[in-house]
């Protein structure tokens, strides 16, 4: 038995079999008044790093293949390459931290509508169907920022088909969206959203399970002072 096999054996014994884990997905958009802006997407699994590290040592878990570090890095690189080619997108950067299991992608856009469909397309390239359709618009004249979000019904049914054990993975996972502006926010239509003390940012936090199940809608129309 080599060391790796020994580890694997240990992990099966040591690892508590239920893989409920906490992770967060954060989407930040900083809008300038002229309609340009920056996006940062973060996936942070560091709260579950013991479990993730354990899982990474296994070939598959609960019937799913566990991607290697190289594979994850490669896919991240592919996403970056795709973004660089996308219209209106510039300054694409990515970071990955395999100690804390945090990955980010950031880029700038000319118009916020440039980012519509990007997530969907990236997911599609990985052969993952998007769980929602989402589009952003910013009207420079009325100074209205809006996000239209529609969860896809099939996502919910697909999700409910998963075994309880697999669903548990999403327990405690959160989705946070933050929009920052140069002007003061006068109103934010989504009641679940919070406006910052400085009145220049809006945050909406929800659990991923609620999002998939359609219990929460992250659509929002934000009116900025003229």
């Amino acid at each position: 038995m080599n060391l790796k096999q020994f580890y694997k054996l240990l992990l099966f014994i040591v690892l508590i079999p239920v893989l409920s884990s906490c992770f967060e997905v954060i989407e930040e958009i900083s809008m300038k008044n002229d309609g340009t802006g920056d996006v940062t997407l973060t996936i942070n699994l560091s709260q579950s790093k013991t479990k993730v590290a354990s899982v990474m040592l296994l070939d598959s878990v609960q019937g799913y293949k566990v991607p290697s570090k190289q594979k994850i890095q490669q896919e991240l690189n592919e996403a970056v390459a795709y973004l660089r080619k996308s219209e209106g997108i510039s300054n694409v950067k990515s970071t990955s931290d395999f100690t804390n299991y945090i990955a980010t992608i950031s880029f700038s856009f000319k118009d916020v509508s440039n980012i519509n469909n990007i997530t969907k397309n990236i997911l599609a390239r990985q052969k993952i169907r998007a769980t929602n359709s989402s589009s952003y618009t910013y009207n420079k004249t009325t100074k209205t920022f809006s996000r239209k979000y529609q969860s896809i019904g099939t996502a919910k049914t697909e999700f409910n088909k998963l075994k309880a054990k697999d669903k548990a993975v999403f327990n405690g996972a959160t989705y946070t969206s933050i929009y920052r502006f140069e002007s003061v926010v006068t109103s934010s239509s989504n009641p679940a959203s919070n406006v910052s003390k400085s009145k220049k940012a809006v945050m909406l936090k929800s659990s991923i399970t609620d999002l998939i199940n359609g219990k929460i809608n992250v659509s929002n129309t934000i009116q900025l002072s003229k």
């Binding site: 060391l3 240990l10 014994i13 409920s20 954060i26 942070n44 013991t50 920052r180």
Partner: protein
Amino acid sequence: MKKILFSFSLLLSFNLAKAQDLVKKIPADAFTVATIKGDNIFKLMFVKDFNESFLGKKLLTETSKSLDKNFTSIEDFGINLEKNMYYFNQLSDSITYNCFLIPIKDANKFESLIENKQKKFTQQGDIRTMIMPDSTSIIKWNNNMLYFVTGSISSSFFADSAKSARYGIKDVRFLRDDAMVTDSVAIDSAYAITDAPMVEVIDAPPVVEKVKVQKKPVKKNTKKSVRTKKAGKKKTTKKAKKTQDDTDFDQPVALATDTAGNMAPDDVDEQYDTYQQERTEQDAKKKRLALVWMTAQADQIFSGNYRSIETNKSYTESLDNKAIAELWVSSLQDAYNAISPTFGSYGKAGLMKGYGSLNAKLFMDNKSFRISTGMELSQEQADSYKKILNRKLNKKFLKYVNSEKALGFMSYSIDTKAYLEEFPKLLKQTYGSFMGAKMDEEMDLGADLISLLLDEEAVSKVIKGDALFVINGLNTKEVTYTSYDYDDDYNQKEVTKTKNETLPDFLFMFSSEDTRLINKLIKYGVNKNLVSADGNIYKVMEKKSPIDIYFQIKDGIVFFGNSLAEMQGIQNNQYSSNKLSKMHKQLLSKNNFSFLFNAQNLVGKVPASEIGGEETAKKFNSTLEKMGNVYMKSNPIKGRLVSADISAEIPNGHENALKYLFSLIENAAK
């Protein structure tokens, strides 16, 4: 005098009781015997309690419903619940019998069960027989016992046309020429068998003396097969009559070629229809033959004289009068030969040579469920294993098990030197024949080569062959992780937060007399930065590992573990031996292999947040609470028998394991 008389009568009644046990009726060549011991079961649970239990009620209402009667007790079925029920099977190259022997208390009650279903039975003396509507099984009973037999014909036997021909059965294939050939053979020998049915046959199933029984159906068979035959009918009939008493296979083959030559080309569809028709016919014939054989076999059970399984030493030695159920399977080697004659030379040449009969016994008492399994080995093998297992667990290990906290442990002890020496022999015995006789030399050579390359003595000093893995409880460890805080502008700020993680503390140890090699390895590891040293405790520098692993060598024991505190405790002699319970001590020190899981020590120890919420945690804990100690152990080899036990203790507050089982079923059904 009275005393003598009393003891005499006691002896008599004991013998009488024994004589009535249906085991007498099981033939000595039974391959598998399973027993359910009614008396032992109903000692644990009164019949009344069973009737009132969830399972009992369900059984009674269901049967009441389906038979349109009103049963209030399982005694209404007429079965003698205080006696043993048996299942056995008999294998031969041509048919397999599956048989049940059930003691009867009240035959009338039993008959009322089946009468209502409008099934008829015949009666001869006090023996009543009923053939199931589809003729695949027979029920036969008298006032003491019920016998149920169902037989299945072996297809591989009847695929051999020469053999099947003896029974007037042909192997029909959808291939014209072939079919023709076998056709003629079939007809020919079908006749041959009519007047001298099966007497000459040695490898066919037993009990053939009763010509009367068999004559009828066989005759029928032949008639039918003749009717279906058009070409060559007369010829074959004649020939067949000539060869009545000896089966002559040369002639019909010659004849077959004749008839085949005469055949005009057929429409394929038509041919297929004929094929289908013939197949059905042949299947019906096989079925009838099976019924004939079954009838004979059942008659034998009731009125025949034969050696019973009680004369089989392997069987009788496997019994335990405390068990509530038993299973015995005759030797594995026999099983290989009987089940797969197609293995041909491999099977016959002794694959699995040396592995004898198997047995399993189920016990239930006021403390636990226990399954005991055993396997007979050949003397050669038993001797090998005895040498290998001639080692006890290092006594120094025992002080590192804390019975109050331990979630579980696993230990084994073998003699490495004996293992290395005996292993090639064992391998050869088990698989040698599979490789074929030609490989014998190579295998010998291989065994010698291993001996040459390995210095068994030296290896056994480095790894003596005993090891213990123990989880001495759970430990909560503070871990840091990265999260974010947001300022007044909702600007992200990376912060390090902490949370508690519960992980089991494991400790693995093995004995080593000669630690020089291991020390060298450690030195190498330190030099290559694979290992970091802190005094005598070393840490594996594996970045990918989610847990820390430490190791050390102390008092001729190599330790591995994930708790630094535990490691330091070992280093500083902080462990004393008084924390081991008597039961754990026995389990560990008396057996070559042991395993224990103590669910009680896990109840409520894992924080709800780590199992996925309060609800899951509740379920998790309530399941654990219902579990007692579960443990396994190997027993010392007795004679040629290796055996192992698995036990599951029942929690306090339950009368016995059977009642506990019923309460579990009842809870699960709610």
